[in-house]
Symmetry: C2
Subunit: 409 residues, 2 copies
Amino acid sequence: MGARAHISPLAPAPAELPPLAGVKLAVAHTGMRYARPDLMLALVEPGSTIAGVLTRSKTRSAPVDWCRANLSHGAARAIVVNAGNANAFTGKAGERAVKATAAAAARLLGCAPEDVYVASTGVIGEALDARPIIAALPGLVARARDDAWSDAARAIMTTDTFPKLATATARLDGRRVRISGFAKGSGMIAPDMATMLAFLFTDAALPQAILQTLLARAANSSFNCITVDGDTSTSDTVLCIATGAAGNRLDGATGRRLAGFAKALGTVTRELAQQVARDGEGAEKFIEITVTGAEDDGAARRIGLAIANSPLVKTAIAGEDANWGRIVMAVGKSGEAAERDRLSIRIGGISVARRGAVDPDYREDALKAHMQGREIAISVAVGVGRGRATVWSCDLTHRYIDINGSYRS
Amino acid sequence: MGARAHISPLAPAPAELPPLAGVKLAVAHTGMRYARPDLMLALVEPGSTIAGVLTRSKTRSAPVDWCRANLSHGAARAIVVNAGNANAFTGKAGERAVKATAAAAARLLGCAPEDVYVASTGVIGEALDARPIIAALPGLVARARDDAWSDAARAIMTTDTFPKLATATARLDGRRVRISGFAKGSGMIAPDMATMLAFLFTDAALPQAILQTLLARAANSSFNCITVDGDTSTSDTVLCIATGAAGNRLDGATGRRLAGFAKALGTVTRELAQQVARDGEGAEKFIEITVTGAEDDGAARRIGLAIANSPLVKTAIAGEDANWGRIVMAVGKSGEAAERDRLSIRIGGISVARRGAVDPDYREDALKAHMQGREIAISVAVGVGRGRATVWSCDLTHRYIDINGSYRS
């Protein structure tokens, strides 16, 4: 299957990222499934630390197992990613393919295989032939450049219609550090710890334990707050590498010193996560749902995701129908505490329902322009406590069914 | 919106039910939404007992609250059901509409308002005007007949494309008893305790406590095992009335004496539940998913529903694509214990995956005829314990989006 000509109407303007000290990227075409580059190598300088969050799926892929086993030692030299085959549910052969890939890259780089991280995305259950990947590695190492961010983001796409990139800077120990990353994801998006694939890099120097804490926190309010279809992937992987090239001190940084960096990391992960929702399969509208007054922040997120995952809410939005009764239904089915008779709903800033019934001043006509727009904003107050969360999603359209009725054909 | 001309290709042949001693039915047209009868009255003889299972939604409708409050006293004379307006999220006005309806029926029948059960189905969040219902009640009481089962099943439909009826007989205390029922449901189907609406009647004499136990057990392996879209309704209501007209003894019947009756009740509830799945909005294919080897029966059901609710599984089946990797994904996301490397999958009786990888003998061509059929059978063995369950669902097609992008317009 080639890249689709269709590009999501919610795509941001294309942008290249500036170089990031200590990181080089290259892409190649293995011919595994797509008529375009489908293999990505990221090389990082020796001494880089790495953190990651990985899917909790019970049927996780072989690369996810490999990354989880190696994250504990915390060093990284490379990430190898292929698109078109997820290497999931492939048994011992899948494990061997990952190990052979890591070993081949390690030989070229003169590092331990455990310093090579691997991710795969695509069809589940088909054997992955590692040979074309291994054959392409020497060329990738030779060609790696510091200005190939857009190419790298494109090479990891599957049904994505645009590459997803984001960058931000922060001050750390008086030095300016940068965080850049790219992600893919379009369907099978309901991350549980992480989303499909996202790779983040910073030139900051950060101990692995601190990087891990910061990444887990950022993922929780970004990648874990998006959903396209409620289907959690076997392959969800977010990796973040700190090259240390910015030259700040690498030590036990405290919360206050890290605040600027944590904020910038939050910006980059949130922008990438939102781009994944904007490229949800078949998406015509981007949906932001803010839930307040829940028992706690986790409950607010689960209520938000129940609304975002409801096929009835998503098809109503696709049909530009302000059918807010379905939002009430979704709150009710979430299983979280909610006071029906205190529930209030706003759409596009307009009060639709207040304290358990339609707002007497609500006129459906007032919502027409908002429902016809590309960005739908829903706020729900559930009247129980102080928990709050914002989640992002997209509508459910005919194109989703077209794409997924024939993904493999 | 009128009835759709389209009838689900999965509909069973139309059938009328025989009379059931002690039950009379009538329908009327209030003009509330549909250009066809939209109001149903079931009258039962004094002395009838009633049991019910109701949604656990936190945003349940006013009629659900009314039924739950009254079930404890266990007597019934009538059920009043309207279609087109769910009387959900309608605040105090919604409660008043239910009470006014019950009081008006009680006056006509010379019973307590608490003996009148009420259910509503349709749009959420719109005020329900009880006046046309109350005005129609005298005519309904006058016209009630013992041969109007099909009319009754039609009058409670919303986006349903065919009426759903089932009947079975059993021996109880040496007497032949009958169980008959009808149901509606087409979208917003992911019951939690019960499904949209189902009304069951038997001429057996049964104490309320026993009837409740039997009904809850039957609902658990029928209505609670279906899903169309994972969206749990505000209005799910299953009521079962025992008129006692068959003349068997009404006493503390033991498990063994009740076995035949319980089996027949299971048959009727399962047939109705399957008909709801067969009339899932836009359904082109009926899906039966059997899960074995789970930690317990509840875990097996949750795994089955995770598969049945996956938009990616449902769209693949709509596209006649044997994309079994998505079944692996759905097992993994269910959150239930599963051994990836022991997981086996059969589709249409053909072994697709064994012990964590594709079956080496599997050829996709062999599945082609099965995938092109109307009935798709999936079996999954998860390799953990002895729990098992069967769930029923339907595919996700363009018609679902057409119906739900414009349900209210």
